[in-house]
């Protein structure tokens, strides 16, 4: 409770501080300040329409006779700090979730130091979120990325502990304008009895970036010594006309673990394969942005494999044995908790700021369509900004599909999320 009170005190003091920005000279004062605090306070209220026949629902709420409609109420506090001098900086991003006095979760999303080195090179040490790849909803070449949620790809996620060296170079040339090189070392997270870990658990990632003929091009690779997992990939992004951007990603992987259920048990396989994405972003004359992407992943489950997983969950429920149910739930959370589990998806998002000249509103809609089993998730986020720095979002989301399909077997048929966020 003391921890919560402290965060609210910090929040109130930073909000009061942020009110001073009406002064004409505030920017000069801010530039001289070394430490800057920012963040947001969010209140979330969600209503869920349960799908009681779903095996996942029956595992989650085993032997509980609950109402068809569930709700959750959550307070969230994001606090970011940036201490920056000309060449050295220290930065953090934190996230606090309050469900009840008994459940307060604190997450350190980022904590890193950065240093400008010689001749346009840069060093970063600490926990940092990366976002490789040009895709909006999916990133087949996002080897160092945090797991992305296609329902909300712009949500902040926890970073990874890393050492990042970066070098950039500009050219006065008609065909190549910029070049950059990134090398990321990811030390092992698997500590042994609070002692240092084996060096084999270290991973290495590297990326080359080129701005070639007005096209962004990246070539990247990732190597994890302990399992000999290797990835190599490339991406690109380009405006073919001023209002249309096209992008793509192509990744090859070697010895990647694919988790499937076989004979009623987890059966990890090491496979080689490809994953790719093609997409476009189109801005029309009414200022409506449309994003369309196709995503394929060889490491995803086939329809048969997803059926085996679904049967495994159903069998666990049918067993009526609490330990079997608990094991199945843990296995599901550990190995099958990705935002999408299968191989082929279409993603469509339409975003319309200030629709029908309603200045304080932004309307959008998205569809995540599973091509393999024809199930889909549909969301319609509506944003309202009544005053500066206050956003209210209403987002109904529906999970549609037959029994045994990916979205048709979610534990909820749909949900309505209402979120109010105040930024400071």
């Amino acid at each position: 409770m003391k921890k919560l009170a402290f965060f609210f005190l910090v929040m109130i003091s930073t909000i009061v501080h942020a009110q001073d920005d009406s002064s004409e000279i505030f920017f000069e004062e801010l530039a001289n300040e070394k430490l800057e605090l920012s963040g947001s306070f969010d209140v979330d209220y969600s209503i869920f329409w349960s799908r009681k026949e779903s095996p996942l629902y029956q595992l989650l709420y085993y032997n509980q006779d609950l109402s068809d409609i569930l709700t959750s109420y959550l307070l969230e506090f994001y606090l970011n700090g940036d201490y920056q001098t000309k060449d050295i900086g220290v930065h953090f991003k934190t996230h606090l979730e309050y469900f009840s006095d008994n459940q307060i979760d604190f997450y350190l999303l980022e904590l890193y130091g950065n240093l400008n080195l010689f001749d346009s090179s840069f060093l970063l040490l600490g926990k940092k979120m990366y976002n490789w790849g040009k895709g909006y909803a999916f990133n087949p070449v996002g080897y160092v990325n945090s797991q992305k949620d296609p329902e909300n790809p712009e949500l902040a996620h926890a970073g990874v502990v890393s050492i990042n060296f970066e070098y950039s170079k500009s050219f006065q040339s008609n065909w190549i304008q910029n070049f950059a090189f990134d090398l990321i070392v990811l030390p092992s997270k698997n500590i042994l009895n609070n002692m240092p870990s084996e060096i084999d658990n270290t991973a290495l990632a590297a990326k080359l970036y080129f701005l070639l003929w007005d096209t962004d091009v990246d070539v990247m690779s990732y190597y994890y010594g302990n399992t000999s997992t290797a990835n190599i990939g490339m991406d690109f992004s380009r405006n073919i006309i001023p209002s249309v951007e096209i992008h793509g990603e192509l990744g090859f992987f070697i010895n990647q673990t694919k988790n499937i259920i076989s004979g009623g048990a987890l059966m990890p396989q090491n496979i080689d394969g490809t994953s790719y994405l093609f997409g476009l972003r189109w801005l029309n004359q009414w200022n409506i942005t449309t994003i369309l992407e196709y995503y394929h992943n060889d490491a995803g489950l086939t329809v048969t494999e997803y059926g085996d997983y679904s049967t495994f969950l159903s069998d666990a429920v049918a067993s009526n044995i609490s330990s079997t149910i608990s094991d199945a739930l843990n296995l599901s959370k550990t190995y099958f908790s990705g935002s999408v589990l299968m191989q082929d998806y279409l993603y469509l998002k339409i975003f319309w700021p200030e629709p029908f000249k309603l200045v304080d509103f932004a309307a959008s809609a998205f569809i995540i369509y599973n091509i393999n089993d024809s199930s889909l998730s549909v969301g319609i986020p509506l944003e309202y900004q009544p005053i500066t720095n206050l956003k209210i979002i209403f987002q109904p989301t529906f999970f549609i599909g037959n029994n045994g399909t990916e979205f048709g077997s979610k534990q909820h048929r749909g949900k309505m999320e209402i979120q109010a966020s105040y930024y400071f």
């Binding site: 942020a18 920005d21 004409e24 505030f26 920017f27 000069e28 801010l30 530039a31 070394k34 920012s38 940036d82 920056q84 001098t85 000309k86 060449d87 900086g89 950065n114 400008n116 346009s120 840069f122 979120m129 990366y130 976002n131 490789w132 790849g133 909006y136 790809p153 712009e154 949500l155 902040a156 970066e166 950039s168 170079k169 500009s170 304008q177 910029n178 950059a180 990134d182 970036y209 701005l211 007005d214 962004d216 992004s237 405006n239 001023p242 209002s243 951007e245 992008h247 972003r281 801005l283 200022n287 942005t289 000249k357 200045v359 900004q385 500066t388 720095n389 956003k391 930024y423 400071f424």
Partner: protein
Amino acid sequence: MKKIFQMSLLLFWMTTTASTGIFAQTDNDRLKRIDAKLMPESYESYRRLIDEYPDGKKKEFTVFSVKKGLAKVAMLFLAPASEKGRTTLRLGENMWLYIPNVGKPIRITSLQSVTGGVFNNSDIMQVDYSAEYDVVGSENSETGYILSLKAKDNTVAYDKLRMWASKDDVLIKIECYAASGMLIKTLDFEEPKDFGNGVLRPSVIETYSPLYKGYRSSMIFLQIKSREFKDEVFTINYMSRIETLRK
């Protein structure tokens, strides 16, 4: 007689060509002088962007911008808090937006607006006019002169501009036209201010459009300083670090 006629024709052609070239040269020089009067070649600035809506509502943004050469611009949002930390980059007609939570730059276009008002991205991250347009005509006005400009290619936001300038090459007004000849918007350059170090220029740009009746946007320059930057500041890798330039 035939020879005299041929010689006269040749002389006429040479004179016409030379004079057209000289005039074009003079007009393009005028455009370069307008650019030079408007901004130092390499600078940093603080601006406030205000969008006014038909119902009387206002949205305000404060931005820090840096520019180098003819066509390199980077910009950092300082306020409001909900936009703070967002950065944009322009290299010629390539533009990107970086949102801290997203953690990577995404391509945007000159046609849209990162603030949502009448100014589009091309206006907010304005590069030298001479980098994007050629002068195709000029005429004198009561207070100075008027230049007619044509975009160098179809990636430029406006196909044609009509530009009013004073006799001493200070911008007064610009009308922006689509290829169809339709007026898209008007930019008024107002309130000359001495920003120091020889930078004397309009401190307020107001814009309105027949396409957005009742909407009005203004850009107020709070500070402009000449400053040199490395080319590498204008790369997508640097977008998350533009704040360091303010320290």
